[in-house]
């Protein structure tokens, strides 16, 4: 007995000591708690989940950037490129790079070669999830070590918008990416203020300050990015000071609880994700406009906003998220009117209601939203048969037309074209060769969407976009529900060093001036 006990105790202690290692006292460590079980891909051209994009935001730069703390194109400013010029027809752009920018971990100076490599990579569908954004690029040329020329085959709505530090616009270091190949996703090398240090699966990702960062070495020495999927555990850890920044729940209960904590700042960060129910017109009875209208009338948009919390939610105004260039509320969305919804169903020949099959992801807020919608639609006689599947299966199945309704939440580069092209252009219809995310088989606004894409006159472009939105709303291709902010709780110990309104990375930007007490 006693022998055994001793062995066990020794084993335990040994296990405990192997992990022991004293921390340096003077280090400034920022601990961020993220709602995820693990990191996905921290390759900027592949990163899709919020948990990945947040990290990419700390590791990479673009040729230009949106000023830290902002999330709209009007704040575009120089980043790796100090200046740029464009040809009069707007199809050829020349960028002059900042000198002396260093890649992480000794991968050398960042030069025009790296830009060429990065953009080619971003445009390559095999290596990038965002290649469609760069289809119009004809050629990328390194004029000299610090000069790059990009030629376009047609006019694009926003050249600079796709060269910012967002998605495909992030610049990777050629030498590192080529050397590591597929391993790059777990060991990314960029030029940003922080660089990869280590990764422990299911536990954390550790970044350290980039001592050679062009804006100066960050005051924060290390970022510990902890994976804590359970909200309660994350909040508790935040409350007890075990983490400094806490990824919040877009929910009023969370918001009101956390705002009451002392020494805490809660921020709702732009861009929002628009939650839209796409109605698959190819599935009867949804080919019937009256049925689609009935669904639209059955969604209590304002009540849903109140349910989630007005501090963290806003009602959808159009099929394009609020604030995107070209978004307009000129055509109002259908109001909540359950009586009318029932009447429409009856008119359509379904007095006893309808039953719809819905494939739904198991992912938190999306599943949550669908469950609320299920409860609400039930009240007018629309019965949703939810098939809860995990996220990847969800994506596969909604692309195989397996769901009558598709709830999709997305933030895109904030111009109307991105949203309209991906979700409502018939060329993007799922199941077709050009499939992106047109789950509704919507085709009523193809002409306007495509014309607006190459329209050089901004006014005409806006008008085309407005018409497109009108047609889509009236045809009820989809029912936009609400937009959710990403919410974060930040301890007062953290001094951001800038004014935070939003961040395209959806995370909290950490700039060299950011510090922690």
């Amino acid at each position: 007995m006693s022998f055994r006990t001793t062995v066990f105790a020794t084993a335990c202690l040994a296990a405990a000591f192997t992990q022991a290692q004293p921390a340096t006292a003077a280090e400034k460590v920022l601990r961020v708690g993220m709602a995820t079980g693990d990191i996905g891909k921290i390759d900027p051209h592949l990163a899709a989940g919020t948990q990945d994009k947040v990290v990419v935001g700390w590791l990479f730069n673009g040729l230009v950037r949106v000023k830290p703390g902002e999330a709209t194109p009007k704040f575009i400013e120089p980043d790796l490129a100090e200046s740029w010029t464009s040809s009069p027809d707007g199809l050829s752009w020349t960028f002059h790079l900042r000198h002396g920018v260093q890649c992480h971990q000794g991968y050398g100076e960042f030069t025009a070669e790296d830009v060429v490599y990065s953009l080619q990579r971003a445009a390559d569908p095999n290596r990038s999830a965002y290649s469609s954004d760069y289809k119009a690029i004809k050629a990328i040329t390194a004029i000299d070590k610090y000069t790059v020329q990009i030629d376009y085959s047609e006019h694009v709505p926003s050249v600079l918008g796709f060269l910012i530090n967002f998605q495909g616009g992030n610049m990777v270091c050629k030498a590192a990416a080529e050397k590591m190949g597929a391993d790059f996703t777990k060991h990314p090398i960029g030029t940003g203020p922080f660089q990869f240090k280590e990764y422990a699966p299911q536990q954390e990702l550790v970044l350290e300050a980039n001592p050679a960062y062009y804006e100066g070495r960050p005051k924060i020495d290390r970022i510990e990015y902890r994976f804590i999927p359970a909200t309660a555990a994350r909040d508790l850890a935040f409350e007890k000071g075990e983490i400094d920044i806490d990824y919040g729940q877009t929910d009023k209960t969370w918001y009101s609880r956390i705002t009451k904590l002392p020494h805490t700042k809660v921020v709702a960060v732009e861009p929002t994700e628009l939650y839209t129910v796409h109605i698959n017109e190819s599935h009867p009875p949804l080919d019937n406009l009256k049925v689609r209208q009935a669904i639209a009338y059955a969604v209590p948009r304002d009540a849903l906003v109140k349910y989630r919390g007005e501090e963290v939610t806003r009602a959808a105004k159009s099929v394009v998220p609020v604030g995107y260039l070209g978004e307009t509320d000129a055509t109002p969305l259908f109001p909540y009117d359950p009586a009318k919804a029932k009447a429409l169903l009856k008119e359509a020949g379904y007095p006893n209601g309808i039953k719809l099959k819905v494939v739904q992801t198991s992912l938190g807020t999306m599943r949550d939203t669908m469950e609320v919608l299920q409860g609400q639609l039930r009240k007018v006689g629309i019965d949703l048969d939810l098939q809860i599947v995990e996220h990847a299966t969800f994506h596969a199945q909604i692309r195989k037309d397996m769901s009558d309704l598709v709830l999709y939440a997305a933030a895109r580069y904030p111009i109307a074209d991105t949203y309209l092209s991906q979700f409502y252009d018939s060329a993007a219809t799922v199941g077709t060769p050009g499939a992106v995310a047109n789950f509704s088989h919507c085709n009523v606004a193809d002409a306007e969407i495509r014309a607006a894409r190459t329209e050089t006159d901004p006014q005409k472009q806006l008008a085309l976009w407005a018409t497109a939105q009108k047609k889509i709303i009236e045809n009820v291709c989809s029912v936009p529900v609400y937009e959710l902010f990403n919410v974060w709780a930040i301890s007062d110990r953290v001094k951001l060093g800038y004014e935070l309104h939003g961040a395209l990375s959806q995370g909290i930007p950490i700039i060299p001036a950011t510090t922690i007490e």
Partner: protein
């Protein structure tokens, strides 16, 4: 051999009654369990609300006269959801264990009787299945097949089958070579039917104990799967799913996790009481020195 069915059934009933009243532990367990069954059966009469009815402005309400156990994050009545949740737990648990019991006992007798490669195959498969914890096995099956009621039942049954195979196989092997079995064969009786006739009376007490205890496990596994997020599809109320929601809101609404936990505790405890009591009552070794 053939006996009047009525008297056989009557004997069985009497025997069951004697076992059911053998000790206070069994009695307490049965009363508690029947209570839960009654709640499940009469759920529509007992529930105070429609368990699916959302009230978006009545979220996470504390227990009140209107909502006895409060409301969940969709504003649904927790009491009514627990009442209806009993149905899911019991239906899944009972179906899974009954399936496992029938399939497992049959396979056990079959493999014990036939021996040879059938026995080898069943034995090997049983060992592999036994090696995996029922939760992990259920997890895999449900993750692969998707969480539906049938798949959950299949998953839990699959994890439970080997237990019954094991119980049924050993006595079959012991009986196989007995003279009278050989004699039956010589007389042209279907040997398998003979086996079942002779083996089943020997093993049913143990099968009964197993069934009770594994019903408890099945209900726990179902709840665990629902907690992981692999339960019956929403909005159907399940206890495990409710605890999962409760855990997300544990800092603001503790009762959300507590009440369904208590429900699970009660039914599993009741079943364990029965199983434990049965074991005492049926175990000749324990009975002797009592």
């Amino acid at each position: 051999m053939p006996r009047p069915a009525g008297s056989a059934a009557g004997r069985l009933a009497r025997k069951l009654w004697r076992i059911a009243t053998a000790n206070i532990t069994i009695e307490a367990g049965i009363v508690l369990f029947l209570l839960v069954v009654a709640v499940a059966v009469f759920a529509p009469l007992i529930a105070t609300h429609d368990p699916l009815d959302q009230d978006l402005f009545e979220r996470l309400g504390t227990p009140s006269t209107e909502h006895w156990l409060g409301t969940d994050s969709f504003g649904r009545d927790i009491f009514s959801r627990i009442v209806f949740g009993a149905r899911i737990s019991l239906v899944i648990g009972l179906s899974a264990v009954l399936t496992a019991m029938v399939v497992g006992s049959f396979l056990g007798v079959l493999s014990g009787y036939l021996g040879g490669w059938v026995d080898q195959l069943v034995g090997q498969a049983t060992n592999i299945l036994l090696a995996f914890p029922s939760l992990i096995l259920g997890l895999m099956v449900v993750a692969f097949l998707g969480p539906s009621m049938i798949n959950l039942i299949a998953a839990i049954a699959l994890a439970t089958v080997p237990q019954f195979v094991r119980v049924a196989r050993a006595p079959t092997v012991a009986l196989r070579d007995r003279d009278y079995i050989q004699a039956c064969r010589a007389l042209g009786f279907s040997p398998l039917r003979t086996m079942l006739r002779h083996v089943l009376p020997n093993i049913w007490p143990e099968i009964l104990v197993m069934a009770t205890l594994w019903l408890a496990t099945a209900i726990r596994v179902e709840a665990s799967l629902a907690f992981i997020g692999l339960g019956v599809k929403p909005p159907t109320p399940t206890w495990g799913g409710m605890i999962r929601e409760g855990f997300e809101n544990i800092l603001t609404s503790l009762w959300l996790a507590i009440f369904p936990s208590l429900a699970i505790l009660v039914v599993v405890f009741a079943l364990n009481l029965i199983g434990d009591g049965l074991r005492d009552a049926l175990d000749p070794r324990l009975r002797k020195d009592e």
